[in-house]
Subunit: 443 residues, 2 copies
């Protein structure tokens, strides 16, 4: 046995669903991990012969999938979850969310809210998220404590907040944070201009220059609501994406969140310039923004990923819900039940999201040489029996409560449904603190 | 203390959400139960003074709601869950579901499949369901074993099955079952002609006569797909609901499942004749049938309830998912985020469903004199914090995994998430048995 190759961890599972190759579930396979990297994927029997691991984890009734990625969220907004439901986008923003944010959002709010979000996401099998929120330096602290991977937004918005006073200040603070952390193994950065109606041409120009220099994605809300389009038309004479295109922002670095209302020409533009889309189906429904033309995007070969949006407009940071919702809505809007099958929904939530973030060589599939960002789903629950096809079960039958284990860079963050890096009781106390404070403030 | 009134059980909870009155969450209230009936609902402090219960159950961080009702399902089809996903309705029916049913469905299949469905539904907070499937006498055995309440379908379909040979046989068997059980405290009956394209005029005429004599609802698939409407137009020259109206079936006894495609006149007909609708949003999406015009139905004052459909087309018997889906889709199809607010979704899944089944005086809300069919939801999970409004949390944030306790007629069927009347391990074994048998048969 001495000639076996050393490894840190072997995870044996009933099924491994690697996403690359697509629509495959390998039975009784194992993943071999060393130094946080996937070293091998092979049948359990061969793994036993070939490797000598420090530990073996046997998950006899589980599927392993690439850790889910959340391509659009505002993590700290978990603290505003359900604060103002059943309201339209602009009313919700102008009369509820923004006034509350003006009164309460500070460094501590972002630290506590981001930690709560990380706990929810880890429990739900998410290993990486693309965040856009104020005080990202506090978000980063929470994320590092959680052990998750994240893309951090260098936020720009055209009004002063407790976080920053103007475009210069937003950019300076975001870039300083990037300087500090861009070599961190789990962190990457995106420029995050909030939306066309809240960012000036001048700010966009500066963001574009930096983004090209630093080869960094630009993460923005785009064509989310018909109000947004109307406001832009009134103020600039252009539809939002037309304006961004004139400014030179539409390209493979762009991650456009929502993208509900587009003309045929605009869809062609998105395709021709290789822009990425962060589809947020639950949020688009809840704020009555409508149905993004996902089957058309996919037909054109546009890279479409998935996100939850913030907990104030969803109200869950639940990628299982978004995968299911994306698959179901695409069928109903296209009138074709074979559109957006289960394997494609899973790919959107993993590999497509990794590619949008520029991290496709590192995460998004279970492949040799990629980081060991892995989610295990237990199929033991009665609600999941019988199981004729584990991939379709993941999308149409399973939920996040079936997630049992999560690893990021080979480090376990969730074990049998229990958080390892974060303390639930402490998070409950902090959530209760903010609830009381926010509840007692008149808007 | 001797002058306190005797009672069987008192359940104390953080919130009681009675549905009647609507949109109310009473804090720190208790429900008093005697002989399976709700005897009182009052503040905990008063309950302690006034009643002397045999047992008190304290649920400090929970909401109590009326047991959820599933207005349209085919319980035994849990055994076909996920068998043929990502396929259109008619392909799914003709080339997958019906051939498999022809080969496998028998009395034992229905018993095992219905028990598995009851387990899933109880765990998900459902206390009553409206079933339509073959061998209902075996379904009834399973339901009685589970302790659930149900409306049993007297099934009629225009082709012979292992269960019955022709209309006479279907009706005779269904009516004999009704004679045997119609006085059972937890069972009621519906005529269940499958759909316009599978039931003859003659059969409909006989069903109508019986339904009027016995004052029994008629539960039918109606205007589910555009194929159904086309087939009926070709064979009868009429759209399905027009034909049923000519036959005299459209009325307050009718529970029409799906109702996706309707003209304005047809909606007026549904309203004028007091027909009930079983909205099945997930199934309508999954089979690509589209979006039922629920906001229009509700505007007209039509009684709209909610159902899951069978597990072969959903693939969950999960009323939390259907409530959330109904609320979200209504917003997106109407373009108004204030349409179908959380309290209305909850009412659809409880009181509206009870009224559709003719059981509105007995179940569907937490009211004095009604049966103690009660579901408790725990709000302790991190994913539900903070909580600004428990009713909106139930719809937009909570899921069935947060259901902790279920009572039907005052009898506990679920305690801290554990089934009491059914044995999970036995259900797993039976599910595995059918999985192997079905998996090994070529279609």
């Amino acid at each position: 046995m001495n000639d076996r190759i050393k490894a840190d961890t072997i995870i044996e599972a009933k099924w491994i669903i690697p996403v690359e190759p697509d629509n495959v579930a390998s039975t009784d396979h194992a993943i071999v991990i060393s130094n946080g990297i996937i070293k091998d994927i092979l049948p359990v029997s061969e793994a036993k012969q070939r490797y000598n691991p420090q530990q073996t984890i046997t998950l006899n009734n589980h599927a392993l999938i690439p850790g889910l990625i959340n391509l659009h969220t505002h993590a700290a907004m978990t603290l505003l979850r359900g604060l103002a439901d059943d309201l339209p986008l602009m009313d919700w923003l102008n009369n509820h969310i923004w006034p509350i944010e003006r009164q309460h959002v500070n460094s501590q709010f972002v630290y506590d809210g981001t930690k709560l979000a990380c706990a929810e996401m880890i429990k739900g099998g998410i290993t990486c998220f693309n965040d856009m929120y104020f005080f990202p330096e506090s978000g980063v602290e929470a994320i590092i404590a959680s052990g998750m991977r994240a893309a951090i937004g260098i936020v720009v918005i055209d009004f002063p907040t407790a976080y920053a006073s103007d475009t210069d200040d937003y950019l300076a603070k975001g870039l300083a944070l990037r300087d500090q952390y861009h070599q961190h193994p789990l962190l990457s950065f995106c420029f995050a201009p909030h939306a066309p109606y809240t960012v000036s041409d001048e700010a966009f120009n500066r963001i574009l220059t930096y983004a090209e220099q630093l080869n960094t994605p630009i993460h923005i809300h785009l064509h989310e609501s018909s109000d947004e389009i109307r406001i832009n038309l009134e103020s600039t004479g252009m539809r939002p994406i037309e304006r961004l295109h004139q400014l030179g922002l539409v390209g493979p670095n762009m991650i456009a969140a929502h993208m509900v209302h587009l003309t045929e020409q605009e869809i062609k533009l998105v395709h021709d310039y290789g822009c990425n889309i962060a589809h947020c189906p639950s949020s688009n429904l809840k704020l009555a923004n409508g149905f993004a033309p996902i089957p058309t995007f996919l037909n054109q070969g546009i890279n479409v990923g998935l996100g939850t949006d913030g907990a104030a407009s969803n109200n869950r940071l639940d990628m299982f819900e978004e995968m299911r919702q994306a698959a179901l809505l695409a069928k109903a809007t296209s009138g074709r039940a074979d559109i957006l099958p289960a394997n494609q929904a899973l790919k959107m939530a993993t590999l497509n999201n990794a590619n949008a973030l520029g991290l496709g060589d590192k995460i998004g599939s279970l492949a040799i040489g990629k980081a060991a960002d892995i989610t295990a789903i237990s199929f033991s629950d009665l609600d999941l029996t019988p199981c004729y096809n584990p991939i379709s079960h993941l999308i149409y039958t399973a939920s996040r409560e079936h997630v049992s284990h999560v690893w990021v860079n080979g480090k376990m963050l969730l074990q049998d449904g229990e958080l390892i890096t974060l303390n639930s009781r402490e998070l409950q106390h902090r959530s209760e603190f903010w609830y009381k404070r926010i509840k007692s403030t008149p808007i």
